[in-house]
Amino acid sequence: MKDINKSAQIKLTISRIVVYAILIFLSFLCLFFFYLMFINSTRSHAQLQGGFTLIPSNNFFTNLKNAWNDSDINIPVGMKNSFVVALLSGLLTTYFSALTAYGTYVYNFKLKKFAHLFILAIMMIPSQVSAVGFIQLAFKYGLTNKLWVLIVPSIAAPAVYFYMRQYLEATLPLEMVEAARIDGANEFKIFNQVVLPIMKPAIAVQMIFSFVGSWNNYFMPSLLLNKPNVKTVPVMIATLRSADYSKFDMGKVYMLMLMAILPVMVIYVILSKSIIKGVTSGSVKG
């Protein structure tokens, strides 16, 4: 009996070692590339051409200065553009998705069921499918190089709606709305002052995903933005990279990549717990 216990113990220890080894290897793989990006941003173009190292060099500020002063891109403006687009998209998408979800959840009206099913049905259609018509209209009405064109469509975000709706079903008792009505609050006030605070966790999670999504978005901005003063960060990276040979400086490219990733990393490190929770809570009802 003791022997069986002992061999089971050894078996468990071995499988633990194997499992931790796998986990550490995968974590290493995930972190390694970020580390490399950071290292490379501290090295000059010549150093980058000259080989591979894991030790930071001393060109960080030179790269920063070079990237900052590059005449093809304007980093502060790019960061500001990306930030404005990401933040406003996030705010609009969370507020209006919550509003729409509240609308189909609390009120009874003829098209209630239809509206809900319609949004679920369009949820999976990729945005690229409407890109052709979108681009055509943008050029026709002179809407290229306008940031609001990237922001406003986020009001209609079916996937965020779905998340909010799931959240409302789980957390908002209809009696609460009733009670607020009895207190004499009007419908908008009820939504803004009673319901929104309850939805804070859901809004925070979706706000983060939406912010990151539009911060990283490349497809639409690359097709719509070509003036330097409206370019977002991903479009600027592409610009730097396609610079002609005489101006091409890999150090600058890495620096800009680092700057593009940093804000998202900072948000993630601070909020990783709620982000990871958020990944699961809205997707499928378990």
């Binding site: 590339f33 080989g51 509240y102 990729p126 018509g133 055509q136 209609a156 497809f219 990393m265 990944v279």
Partner: protein
């Protein structure tokens, strides 16, 4: 029951608010998505593109663009099947290891026997690549694996290769790199979703199986897998829909050319080519309609899985 009826009766008078609250969504959707979508479909039946500074068309051509897409009568066009095939293949080589490893990790994390410590750390780290700008990630790989890049230098200086390997010029390596990047970006996300699914299974089922003397393999195939199916299907199909939209990673890695010989050009990259300088709205429209049909079929499966889950 009594209470519910009561609420419904009362809320009837509030019906107009329902319309007011959902109106912004539908108005914006109609203007910025639905109308462009219909225009896209409309375009697909026209010859309409730019040749230098002159605009050709729009001229109604019926199904000509679709014929061109399938290469029924046109020289110089690669049939769309190739790009569809590429997209599916590139998705598969990233998704297959992703699902196998994610399932494995989800089982590790949820195993009470293994009792893994530091789960929060591991989850945080493996989810991280998902948040990173795909285009930046892809550019890093481009630099790492270029002819003069660090990987080649490492291979040469260690004597493992006598001359630089053209990683970005060979089909096998380009496709593998795309698969690897997609794997790295998505396995953490899949792990977390599957884990939540496993945690949702009634613990007593595992308990009683263990008391019956089932092996862990038996438990996995007879309890875990069948009960995890709805979530697994959801994750699988959403991954597939994401795969159909694959763009940033191969676009940046191959500079938009899908080198070598269009073997890594995805559907969206192909679409993107028509939207560039040529502004070929006709052909781009036809590609989009095809994409729409494919995703509509896939979505109907998601739709079913969501609905069955809600019951």
């Amino acid at each position: 029951m009594e209470k519910k009826k009561n609420i419904q009766k009362k809320s009837i008078s509030y019906a107009k608010w329902g319309y007011i609250f959902i109106a912004p969504f539908f108005i914006i959707y109609a203007i910025f998505t639905l109308y462009p979508q219909l225009l896209t479909v409309y375009n697909s039946f026209f010859e309409y593109y730019r040749d230098g500074l002159t605009v050709i068309g729009p001229r109604f051509v019926g199904f000509e663009n679709y014929k061109t897409l399938f290469n029924l009568n046109s020289a110089g066009y690669v049939p769309i099947f190739k790009f569809l095939g590429n997209t599916i293949w590139l998705w598969v080589i990233g998704a297959l290891p992703q699902f196998v490893i994610a399932m494995m990790l989800a089982l590790f994390f949820t195993s009470t026997r293994l009792n893994i410590k530091g789960q929060q750390f591991f989850k945080t780290v493996i989810y991280m690549p998902n948040l990173i700008m795909a285009s930046a990630f892809s550019m890093l790989f481009f630099a790492l694996f270029s002819q003069v890049g660090p990987i080649n230098q490492l291979l040469i200086s260690s004597g493992m290769a006598s001359q630089p390997i053209n990683f970005l010029g060979m089909q096998v390596t380009v496709q593998s790199l795309i698969g690897l990047m997609n794997f790295l970006m998505w396995f953490g996300n899949t792990t977390i979703l599957l884990m939540a699914g496993i945690q949702g299974i009634d613990e007593s089922l595992f308990e009683s199986a263990r008391l019956d003397g089932s092996t862990s393999t038996q438990v996995f195939f007879n309890i875990t897998m069948p009960l995890l199916m709805p979530i697994f299907i959801y994750v699988f199909i959403t991954s597939m829909i994401g795969g159909i939209q694959m763009f940033d990673v191969p676009q940046v890695l191959t500079n938009g050319y899908g080198i070598p010989d269009n073997t890594s050009t995805t559907m969206i990259m192909y679409l993107n080519n028509f939207l560039g300088i040529s502004k070929n709205y006709g052909m781009a429209g036809a590609v989009s309609v095809l994409l729409f049909i494919i995703t509509a079929i896939l979505s109907s499966f998601v739709f079913k899985s969501i609905n069955s889950n809600n019951k």
